[in-house]
């Protein structure tokens, strides 16, 4: 059975259609990379899946783990096991990372019918997961993303992913703007989390990331549709030839 099934998805922002009938199927244990030129609709896809309200879905259907995704509020999608690693993580002054994660993890646990974690277990868990992405445990008392470098913000996204253990993680250009060391840390965090039951949709601009997170499938998104799919070799071809040949193919 598929974990995520997108059928003929059309979505607007401010009355302008960005996604023009997109199809994608992700099975448990798979890594899918979505590549494409600027403005092709990559981030729109991520936002629509996570439930950002400024996007309007006009047509199509998305099933997540057997449930109708569009019937669920953003928080319910997260509780059901969907995770969006933000392209631009938000700074939240006054809310500590620890408090944020404690609230989030316990909401998700409640949804799954599990008891809330006690303070000691929770601290232990946070320290363990922070080490995945080489974040100093001091960061836990700092406000969410406030004063973080670009690399720290992205590592914090992966830390949160590790805390919430999603079934499906959508990574929206997590690699953009990262230097090679930060990229390695982020990729190694993802690889530690990867198992045969969870899946990743990796949205990226650059083939470079896929040297570290090796995809099972690569899709090219252009003008709001997936116009070509292949294996990791397709990414190398895109890296070499750019997107012009794809554009010619479609236009």
């Amino acid at each position: 059975m598929s974990l995520l099934k997108i059928e003929n998805l059309k979505a607007n922002i401010d009355g302008k259609e960005i996604l023009h009938g997109l199809n994608l199927e992700v099975k448990p244990g798979e890594i899918h990379a979505i590549m494409g030129p600027n403005g092709s609709g990559k981030s729109t896809l991520a936002s629509v899946l996570a439930g950002k309200e400024e996007f309007e879905v006009t047509e199509g259907k998305v099933t997540f783990d057997g449930k109708d995704l569009f019937e669920m509020a953003p928080e319910d999608r997260a509780r059901e096991g969907m995770f969006l690693a933000f392209q631009y993580p938000v700074e939240i002054p006054g809310v500590s990372n620890a408090n944020f994660m404690k609230t989030a993890v316990n909401e998700v646990r409640k949804h799954r019918g599990q008891d809330a974690l006690d303070a000691m277990d929770f601290l232990q868990l946070m320290k363990e997961k922070a080490a995945y992405v080489e974040l100093d445990s001091q960061f836990l008392t700092r406000s969410v993303n406030q004063g973080f470098s670009g690399g720290e913000k992205k590592r914090n996204e992966i830390f949160q992913m590790a805390m919430l253990e999603p079934k499906l993680a959508i990574m929206d250009e997590t690699d953009s703007g990262l230097d090679i060391d930060a990229l390695r840390v982020v990729a190694s965090g993802v690889n530690k989390l990867k198992n045969e039951n969870n899946s990743f949709v990796v949205i990226t601009h650059y083939q470079r990331l896929l040297d570290y997170i090796v995809p099972d499938y690569v899709h090219v998104l252009y003008k709001g549709r997936i116009v070509k799919s292949g294996t990791k070799e397709l990414a190398l071809e895109l890296e070499e030839k750019g997107y012009d040949w794809i554009k010619e193919l479609v236009d």
């Binding site: 928080e75 938000v90 939240i92 006054g94 809310v95 609230t103 406000s143």
Partner: protein, 432 residues
């Protein structure tokens, strides 16, 4: 009530008061009261045409028939139910009168606490009384100067550090009728001394209550003082507060004002930095809902060089609430090397809520660092979505964000009891 009727009523109340003050009628201080009353009558209740009252509607002053009350009737049980118990010395004032039986006995070396009414005859004290709380500055200061006769006189002697805060409890007993009370503190912190003061105001009963509270604070050379106000009163409470401060060289003064409920609150804080090397901090948080008004006016007067001031006010407006922030910073020609920072951030939770924010910088020195910033907006949708995308429900996410917004002010309070109590109150007010 017309303006004339109002002035007659005040004159009448002044007569009642004069009888209570029998024996002082020939004194200097009594003639000062008369002058203050004349000063008030000249201006009357300010209207929106007065620059300092431009956004503050005071029509209620004419509508309500507040009765001057010179004595309340409060049991220990009522006090206990009404007022939080901090690890602090408690001084209780009911309807403007000192209640010795309800107050703690304070025995600390170098700390003198008296009822102001008992010490005003002392010429060294009457010499400084009203010196900085000059009634010409503000009509409600004038009214207070004419009518208030009790309050706390607090003297902290040289080199005395008082660790335990003093909690000034201001209560209006409005069980039987609408009540009006005046109340005045004089706080004198001598060289190298240190003291922390908390003032909370409360109304007992369902009737309307009007409080006019003035605190005059002298902070001598190298001394430290903190004055915290927590305002969480009833929906029929009206409050005019003044803190008038003079700081001498190398002194440190801090105020924080947390206004969480009440029909009407006006806070004036006016600080003169009268020596070099002073540090002055002003923090504030206000939450206004229903059709209430909370108005904060601050004035920082950098009169001397090498001083630093930090002002940090934040507010949340809901329903048809009105918030007003006016922060004036004056940097006089002598005040070179001044560092003055001011920030006022506001969140509107409803389309009918209003905030009027006005930073005012007047700078006459050329080698200074001054900055100010004011923002107004709705709760940040991006932040809200970020929290929801991690599984936190919308309601809980809002609560978390709003409390974090307020928390940035509250966490700066150095008194643990007060900080915890305020955090809890804010959580109560900001859970929807």
């Amino acid at each position: 009530m017309s303006k004339t009727e109002f002035i007659n009523k005040i004159a009448n109340e002044f007569e009642i008061l004069s009888d209570v003050l029998n024996g002082q009628k020939q004194s200097d201080s009594f003639s000062k009261r008369k002058e203050a009353l004349d000063a008030f009558n000249e201006v009357g209740i300010p209207t929106l045409k007065h620059e300092n009252w431009k956004y503050t509607k005071l029509a209620f002053m004419h509508q309500f028939d507040f009765e001057l009350s010179l004595r309340g009737n409060l049991s220990k049980e009522e006090l206990q139910a009404l007022v939080p118990r901090f690890d602090a010395y408690r001084l209780v004032f009911v309807n403007g009168r000192f209640e010795e039986n309800l107050s703690d006995v304070v025995q600390e070396k170098g700390l003198l606490i008296r009822n102001l009414a008992d010490v005003l005859a002392d010429s060294t004290i009457s010499a400084v009384y009203s010196k900085i709380a000059d009634y010409k500055k503000d009509p409600f200061l004038a009214l207070n100067a004419a009518m208030a006769f009790e309050g706390a006189y607090i003297k902290v002697e040289r080199n005395t550090v008082i660790d335990k805060p003093l909690h000034i409890v201001v209560i209006n007993d409005s069980k039987d009728k609408s009540t009006k009370a005046y109340f005045r503190n004089l706080i004198d912190v001598a060289e190298n001394a240190s003291v922390k003061i908390i003032e909370t105001n409360h109304t007992l009963g369902d009737n309307a209550s009007l409080t006019n509270s003035v605190s005059e604070v002298f902070v001598a050379q190298n001394a430290r003082a903190e004055y915290h106000k927590l305002q969480a009163d009833t929906e029929k409470s009206y409050y005019f507060g003044n803190i008038q401060v003079q700081q001498e060289r190398d002194s440190h003064f801090k105020t924080s004002v947390l206004s969480l409920s009440g029909k009407f609150i006006r806070n004036n804080i006016n600080t003169v930095l009268n020596g070099t090397g002073c540090q002055s901090d002003m923090d504030g948080f206000y939450y206004v809902d229903a059709d209430n008004t909370i108005d904060n006016h601050t004035y920082l007067d950098h009169a001397m060089p090498h001083c630093e001031s930090n002002e940090f006010y934040k507010g949340i407006m809901n329903d048809k609430g009105t918030g007003i922030f006016n922060g004036k910073i004056m940097v006089r020609p002598d005040a070179q090397k001044t560092n003055a920072y001011q920030s006022n951030k506001n969140i509107l939770l409803s389309d009918d809520a209003t905030i009027n924010t006005k930073p005012e910088l007047e700078i006459y020195a050329d080698d200074v660092k001054c900055s100010h910033g004011a923002t107004c907006g709705y709760l940040d949708e991006e932040s809200l979505f970020y929290l929801r995308a991690r599984g936190i429900g919308e309601k809980e996410a809002r609560t978390l964000l709003l409390n974090a917004f307020a928390g940035e002010v509250i966490e700066r309070i150095g008194i643990e009891d007060l900080r915890n109590y305020a955090t809890e109150l804010v959580l109560n007010r900001l859970s929807f």
